[in-house]
């Protein structure tokens, strides 16, 4: 293989692709061809870099120069300047918010600087559609090590000792799960390993990025898991809405089969294992283990009681080990570098009790009112403040942080006072939220917590399977109550009623979706009760979100009569002549806020 002078790593994650990174790549190739650089420079599409907010991203290796927000028309200049003349183009380099100087090197950018990569170890470094790239980065070494030099029990012991806990949200110790599956009686010895790639939380894209950027790491983890457990078949349940992930999985599976890493007699060890991909039809509840298995079986995706665990009777009543994408991706490095290496990162002590701490790293997707939207992998035990302010670059538009929501729709909202909380499975649960699959939504003072709770309850109401009464009816009634609070029709006792329904759901709902569904309500009541009380008693929404509780007025002193607001108003509620005071008709106004955003004189006031 010819050694190239430069490798241009173009991000081909979904975020960058939708921002035309493939056109950037095509432009690069054209320009390189034009300048006769094809022999020296290679253009490689990579998986998601995580810094989706500034995409499309181009990383020039081996120097590590980080370009951002590229457009195809920027490319001729960039190729000429950087590739021919060796001068990085300043205007495409990253500039931290509120600063002036650029940061040319990726490793110096704070967003990347504080991250520790295990699950995302190959991000931006390899072409996800080439098994050779993965192998070049220590890929399949762990599988080879496990299959050729370790007994299944030894593999199991390493995973147990590493303290790895389920990254899908539950935080169940992976080693214990594997061991239970291995020990569970099976009449004909059938056992399954399953990969849960049904990522459904709004705003979460950890699993997607891992699959799209490094599908082989998941396959390798599953091979190792199957070897330890004694499974001969694996399933990947990936949601239909992830076409790129699906495509990359299929490519990776074929490559692994061709290379003898899947199928009969893997690596000549006599161990046989293969993986099938199943597409989910887009139900949030199918991320729940029993519903996922029901769906895999071809039945309606509804959960069942887990009094007999799926590790004993799961898919087709056989012992089944279900782990999340990120969990599987964590396995190869653990086998390769040992449990001790893994336990150096994280909190607590897992040597005696696997629930004693949270080890390793966790991938979070940062979203909401934050400067650096994207995907980050951080060690367990990092504080929320570090994630939000150091990595995330703080709150956008200089607003004040109000709350951080973790764990997706079933998680909870944590207030600013808890920013110094060390993030791990147990602290988040204790604070009334949860780790979940790693969604992290940052809210500022313009977000109404009651409306926020209503939004999530709405989402859950649509996604609940409707099988059990507490979840189905509880969500319906909570939605009804929250809606009336947002509409300014809240009654005394509504907060208590919400708490009462929540208690019933926690105690009596069938599956984790139902028992965790009250979290958005309970955590907002716990930390932002005064906002609820304001809505109910004073008819006031301090964030100005609940339309029924706000009115827009024109400040007579500031209005210049520019007519901008009148033109922005979609319902023609604003009247007024040029250079004269404008008036909003409250009966016509539908409180969309378009005038508020349009006015350049701050003359529109929200009351």
């Amino acid at each position: 293989m010819a050694v190239k002078r430069l490798h241009l790593m173009v991000c081909a994650g979904t975020g960058c692709v939708s921002n035309k990174s493939m056109e950037v790549k095509a432009a690069l190739e054209t320009e390189i061809e034009k300048h006769g650089l094809a022999a020296e420079v290679d253009v490689i599409p990579t998986g998601c870099n995580g810094f989706c907010g500034v995409g499309p991203i181009l990383l020039v290796q081996p120097d590590g120069i980080f370009y951002q927000q590229l457009r195809p028309r920027d490319i001729p200049h960039l190729v000429e300047e950087h590739l021919l003349k060796g001068r990085p183009v300043q205007r495409h380099l990253y500039t931290p918010p509120g600063e002036k100087g650029t940061i040319p090197l990726m490793s110096d950018i704070p967003f990347f600087h504080a991250q520790v990569l295990i699950a995302l170890r190959n991000r931006g470094m390899i072409d996800p559609e080439k098994i050779e790239d993965y192998i070049a980065r220590e890929g399949y070494q762990a599988a080879a090590k496990a299959l050729t030099t370790m007994s299944p029990q030894e593999v199991l012991d390493v995973v147990k000792a590493s303290g790895l806990r389920g990254r899908g949200g539950g935080g169940f110790p992976t080693g214990i799960k594997w061991e239970s599956t291995k020990r569970a009686p099976s009449e004909n010895g059938t056992r399954w390993v399953i990969c849960n790639a049904d990522e459904g939380d709004p705003g979460a894209f950890m699993d997607r990025s891992i699959i799209e950027g490094d599908p082989h790491s998941v396959l390798e983890g599953m091979i190792i898991g199957a070897y330890a457990i004694g499974a001969t078949r694996g399933f990947i349940y990936v949601r239909q809405e992830y076409p790129l992930a699906l495509k990359r999985f299929m490519i990776a599976l074929n490559q692994a089969r061709e290379s003898g890493l899947l199928g009969e007699d893997i690596l000549g060890t006599g161990f046989s294992f293969d993986i099938e991909v199943h597409r989910g039809a887009g139900a949030f509840v199918c991320g729940e283990s029993t519903a996922l298995m029901a769906s895999l079986e071809g039945n309606v995706g509804e959960p069942r009681a887990k009094y007999i665990h799926t590790v004993e009777r799961g898919l087709w009543n056989m012992p089944s080990c279900l782990n999340n994408v990120e969990t599987w991706a964590n396995v190869p490095p653990i086998i390769l570098h040992g449990a001790e290496w893994f336990t150096q990162l994280g909190t607590g002590d897992v040597s005696e009790n696997p629930w004693g701490g949270s080890k390793g790293t966790k991938v979070f997707s940062l979203a909401g009112k934050i400067n650096n939207t994207g995907l980050v992998e951080v060690p367990m035990g990092i504080t929320l403040r570090e994630i939000v302010f150091d990595i995330g670059g703080g709150i956008a538009n200089g607003k004040r942080l109000k709350s951080v929501q973790t764990g997706g729709p079933s998680g909870g909202c944590l207030p600013e006072e808890l920013l110094d909380l060390e993030v791990d499975f147990d602290t988040l649960t204790a604070a009334g939220s949860m780790m979940g699959s790693g969604g992290m939504l940052v809210m500022d003072e313009d977000d109404c917590m009651v409306d926020f709770a209503r939004f999530y309850i709405d989402f859950l109401m649509a996604e609940s399977c409707g099988k059990c009464t507490p979840c189905r009816e509880g969500l319906r009634n909570m939605n009804m109550i929250l809606q009336r609070i947002c509409d300014g029709k809240g009654q005394e006792g509504d907060i208590e009623l919400l708490e009462e329904i929540s208690a019933c759901m926690i105690d009596a709902a069938l599956c984790a979706l139902g028992t965790s569904a009250p979290n958005p309500v309970l955590s907002t009541i716990k930390y932002f009760r005064e906002e609820y009380e304001e809505h109910i008693r004073e008819g006031k929404c301090r964030a100005g979100v609940c339309k029924a509780l706000i009115t827009y007025k024109v400040d007579a002193d500031k209005c210049s009569g520019c007519t901008l607001c009148a033109r922005a108003c979609p319902v023609n509620a604003i009247t007024g002549e040029t250079k004269k005071l404008h008036v909003i008709d409250p009966n016509v106004c539908d409180r969309c806020g378009a005038c508020y955003d349009a006015c350049t004189f701050d003359a529109i006031i929200r009351v």
């Binding site: 509840v285 059990c468 069938l510």
Partner: protein
């Protein structure tokens, strides 16, 4: 066995059995809405939520599916359990405020009115119907549509009626606790073959109280297992394991020397005469159905009742339905007049109903029969000479209640009459079994123009047939009453026994014989033989005459295209010699 504790009381259940089993044993009531003994636990309604304590760990579980464990402590009335249950019921009440079972359970838990409104939904989403249809019936005709709060019970792809996989067994209707599912057409219900009050109420039943053998019988048209391979509950519950659903029809071959044919009759189907409204109007019965009703071990215990359970005020008995009728059967069925008189007598005996007989001629010619006719006349039974023309449904005077009207011509008075009754009994004709032709073909018997089997001689041999060793008795030969049938059957039995006692048969020496050398194997003679005496030998590929059956009629001799059959004593040479003798 595992021993555990519910509300302080010890109980034992099999390993793996749910808590609720133990509660049943102790007589502790844990309310449920979605639990059914015959179905896999579902755990959807959550009304049976209880608190369990294992060591220090407290947990909320559902009693219907949480497997009892050794040393488990179950608290059905703990504060948490009651609170959860109350809230579940209150929310159910908000959804289904008009459903009695929910109202009742809510009231038991101290909830009169829900704080979340008063919905009028009637489905509580217990899923019993869906599950019984899939798990037990195996028809998969019901499913859930949508999800979450939008969830509803539906048929697959919302197709209904003939298109859908519903077998109309009614299992879903039976399990539905709220009446959300009902059957539009009860007569279509296969699980209960006759919703009419006659006949068994389920697919497996002892057909009548006097049935011999007195064992339940499965109706293959109604049995869910035989339709879909679902259910099989009867097999599961039968402790002596007497129900074997894997059984199927078997054929036996038995070699016998003589056959007595007693295949009986079938009743004329009165639907063919739509003017009498059978099958269309309620309370129009056939004579056999009325006979069943009058039986003291019958479905009504011998009471004469209408479909609505009331005692009829008047009953019309219509003679000659299908008999003595050029359009159907020209013959007289012989027994109808007498049983119609018996009906009249029994109705008079058991109720105050008026009885009307509509007859053409009152045939009462047996021993003691005419005396019986006089007796019913004395019992004030109205006899009207004239065949009923039609039965219609009309209003009876001012009373707004549907009754039946019988129109007829009273030929003795010479007037048209219109008689209102509550119930009509049709004395249907006795007719040959519909498959008697097949039977006759198999046995080589002939039939008279009316379709009944033909005896060898109406006066000299009313028992025998053209085929030796085959006899007939009873109504397969023609309409007759019980005394006649018994007499004929006894005679036939005596004939058979006589032959058995003798041990051998004398046969006529005049026989046909086939020359195997010349037989071409065309089998023409096989079907021509009126005595079924010629069979085909598959191995030798020639036809063979059964000497015992051959009557020496000579049909085959004349028909054989190869000239291979000879009649003993009637060879060509012999006949020619005879002719020569005559002519010379």
């Amino acid at each position: 066995m595992v021993t555990f504790e519910i509300d302080g009381q010890q109980v034992q259940v099999e390993e793996g059995e749910p808590i609720i089993k133990g509660a049943e044993k102790l007589g502790i009531k844990i309310p449920t809405l979605c639990h059914c003994e015959w179905l896999e636990p579902y755990g959807a309604c959550r009304v049976c939520t209880v608190e369990v304590v294992m060591g220090k760990r407290h947990r909320m579980v559902t009693a219907c599916n949480y497997p009892a464990r050794e040393g488990l402590r179950v608290l059905t009335q703990s504060e948490r359990a009651v609170a959860a249950r109350r809230m579940v019921l209150e929310m159910q009440l908000a959804r289904c405020s008009t459903v009695p079972i929910i109202q009742e359970l809510a009231r038991e838990h101290g909830i009169e009115k829900s704080r979340f409104g008063e919905g009028t939904e009637t489905c509580i989403m217990c899923g019993l119907c869906v599950r019984i249809c899939s798990e037990l019936v195996g028809a998969h005709a019901l499913c859930f549509g949508q999800r979450g709060t939008e969830r509803f019970i539906s048929t697959p792809f919302q197709r209904e009626g003939e298109e859908g996989p519903c077998i109309a067994c009614g299992a879903c209707v039976d399990v539905c606790p709220t009446g959300h599912i009902w059957m539009e057409d009860l007569s279509a219900r296969k699980g209960q073959p006759q919703d009419f009050y006659l006949g068994p109420k389920s697919a497996i039943a002892i057909p009548t109280q006097q049935a011999v053998p007195k064992a339940p019988r499965i109706d293959p048209d109604a049995c869910i297992y035989l339709q879909t391979r679902g259910c099989s509950i009867c097999q599961q519950v039968c402790e002596p394991e007497a129900v074997d659903l894997s059984q199927h029809d078997e054929e036996f071959e038995i070699e016998v020397g003589q056959i007595l044919t007693t295949t009986g009759f079938q009743l004329f189907d009165p639907r063919k005469m739509s003017q009498y409204g059978y099958g269309r109007l309620d309370n129009v019965l056939t004579s056999l159905e009325f006979e069943m009703m009058l039986n003291s071990t019958g479905p009504t215990g011998g009471k004469v009742l209408m479909k609505n359970g009331q005692v009829p005020r008047a009953i019309g008995i219509l003679h000659c339905i299908g008999s003595r009728d050029e359009n159907h059967h020209a013959y007289c069925s012989r027994v109808c007049c007498m049983y119609a008189m018996k009906f009249a007598h029994l109705v008079k005996d058991r109720s105050d109903a008026e009885v009307y007989q509509f007859y053409i001629d009152m045939e009462a010619y047996g021993k003691g029969y005419h005396e019986f006719y006089s007796r019913i006349l004395a019992e004030d039974v109205n006899v009207i000479r004239g065949k009923a023309a039609e039965v219609t449904e009309q209003m009876w005077g001012d009373e707004a209640e549907g009754v039946l009207h019988i129109r007829c011509e009273d030929t003795l008075v010479g007037k048209f009459r219109d008689i209102p009754v509550d119930m009509v009994v049709l004395c249907c004709a006795i007719e040959p079994q519909s498959d008697l032709g097949n039977m006759a073909h198999i046995l080589g018997l002939t039939r008279s123009p009316d379709g009944f089997l033909l005896e060898r001689h109406p006066k000299l041999d009313p028992i025998g047939t053209n085929t030796d060793g085959i006899y007939i008795a009873g109504t397969c030969q023609g309409p007759k009453d019980i005394p006649d049938t018994v007499a004929q059957a006894q005679a036939a039995a005596a004939r058979i026994l006589a032959l058995i006692a003798k041990g051998k048969v004398l046969i006529d020496p005049i026989k046909a014989s086939i020359d195997a050398e010349h037989c071409s194997g065309c089998r023409m003679c096989n079907s021509l033989c009126p005595y079924q005496a010629i069979t085909f030998d598959e191995e030798e590929e020639v036809s063979v005459v059964n000497d015992t059956l051959c009557k020496g009629c000579g049909t085959c001799v004349a028909a054989c295209p190869s000239g291979a059959i000879r009649g003993a004593g009637f060879t060509d040479n012999q006949i020619l010699a005879e002719l020569e003798g005559i002519l010379i």
